[in-house]
Symmetry: C3
Subunit: 169 residues, 3 copies
C-alpha cells in the first residue's frame, strides 16, 4: 500500500482539478482511493501514473495511451458512463441515476497498437494528418472545437451539455 | 418566485464558474438575480434552464438553442456588449465604460429554425460538415481554436484580449 | 518603481490564473516581481502590459505581439524552457531540474513584421486563412485542438503531458 498522505493528496488534487474541467471521480470515495493508491504505486514503480487496471510494459512510449487519464477515458464515459477502471464516471453514474456496469476493454491489442504507432510515425515524417479521420465537434454556445469519437459530456470551456455540440468537420 | 436559497446558490455558481472562463454577469446584482430567479423557475417547469426572456416550447430539442447560455450569447456580447437578456455582459459594460442598450433578437424565427434543423440532420447522416461555414479563430498566444462568428472577448485558455486572435480558417 | 500593492496584486493574480491553465511563473519570486513591476509601469505608461524586456512603440497595434503574454511565449517555453524575459517557465525549469539560460529573440525584426502584417490584412480581406500553415495539435485524451508551432507543455483542458498530443492537421 502506498503512503496514505500521498494518496489523499493525489485524490484531492484529481478531484478538484477534474471537477473544474467537467470530469467526475467515482462518488464511492473508498473505491476511487483504492485506484488512486495504485496510481501512486505505479508512479513510484514506473515514473508515471499508468492505469491500475491494465498491464504496463514499463516503457513510457509503449504505455502512453494508458497513462491515467488514458486515451480511452472520454469515449468510455460517453458510451458506458465510466472509464475502464471506473475512476472517472458520467454525471448519470455520479448522481446514481444509472448503475455502473463492467466496461469492455477498448484498447487495441499489442499487434494493432504497433501497427498504429508505425502509421503515426510515417505520417509524422510525411507531415500529414494522423488523427484527422476523427470528427471535429463544435460547441454551439462558445465555438470550442475538439476532435474525438463523440462530443464531450459537457463543454470544458462554457459548461453546456453534450447535446449543445454539433458536428463541425 | 423561486426558492431564495436556490437562486442565491445558482447566482453564485454562475458567477464563479463564468468569471473563470471569461464571461461576466451583469454587475447590477438585483437585475441579474431576477433573471436567475426565472432560470430556477424554468428549471422546475421544463427540466432545463431555458432563457427567461424568450418563449419556450417545453421540448428540449426545440428549445436547445435558447437554454442559458444560449447559442446567441457570445455573438451578442461581441456585437452589443450583452446577451439578449442582459445576464451576461462585456468588460466595457461591466466596468460602466459603455451603457447597456436593448439587444435585438438574433434567434431565427421558427420557420427558419426548422429549415436549419432539417439541414443539420441531413448533414449528420451524410457525415459532412454543418457549421463549417463559420470562421475558425486562433489565439496567437496559445493557439486555442474556436469556430464562431467573431473571436471571443478574451481567450478562455490564456486570458489574452480579443485583438490577439487571428482568422485561421 | 510602481506601487508595491499593485505589483503584489498583479503577481498573485497572474500566478493563480496561469497555474490553473498550465503556465508557471518563475519560481524566483523576487525576479518575477521585478518583471511584474515593469508590467505595472508599462500599463500606466502605454495602457497595456507590454513586455518589459523589449522596446515598445506605444501603439497597441504595433506592439500587439509583445503584450504579455507575448505571441512567442509558448514556443519559447517548449524550446528553451522559458519565455524571452524568464517570467514564464517550463516545469523542468520550475522544479530546478534544468537550468535557465538566456533565450534568443524570436520576434521578427520590424521590416519582417510589417511585411507579415501586410500579408495578414490582405488575407483578412480575402477571407482566406493566414495562420493555417501552422500545424494543428490534438490531445489524444480529451480531443483539444490548438494551432501552434509545437504542442503545449500540458493540455490546458485535461492536464496531460506534452507527449500525449499528436499532429492533427
Amino acid at each position: 500500500m502506498a503512503d496514505r498522505e500521498k494518496v489523499e493528496k493525489l485524490y484531492d488534487s484529481l478531484r478538484t482539478f477534474n471537477e473544474k474541467r467537467g470530469y467526475l471521480l467515482n462518488p464511492d470515495a473508498d473505491f476511487a482511493k483504492a485506484l488512486v493508491n495504485s496510481l501512486v504505486i505505479n508512479e513510484d514503480r514506473y515514473g508515471y501514473q499508468v492505469c491500475p487496471c491494465r498491464l504496463a510494459s514499463g516503457s513510457r512510449a509503449e504505455d502512453l495511451d494508458i497513462i491515467c487519464p488514458c486515451d480511452y477515458r472520454d469515449a468510455d464515459i460517453i458510451q458506458y458512463g465510466a472509464c475502464y477502471c471506473g475512476l472517472y464516471v458520467s454525471r448519470d453514474i455520479a448522481s446514481g441515476k444509472v448503475e455502473l456496469k463492467p466496461i469492455p476493454e477498448r484498447r487495441p491489442n499489442k499487434e494493432m497498437r504497433l501497427k498504429m504507432a508505425e502509421e503515426k510515425s510515417k505520417i509524422k515524417t510525411q507531415n500529414s494528418n494522423p488523427g484527422s479521420k476523427l470528427p471535429v465537434w463544435r460547441c454551439t454556445v462558445c465555438g470550442y472545437l475538439c476532435a474525438r469519437e463523440d462530443a464531450p459530456e459537457i463543454c470544458p470551456i462554457c459548461g453546456v451539455a453534450h447535446d449543445r455540440f454539433e458536428r463541425f468537420m
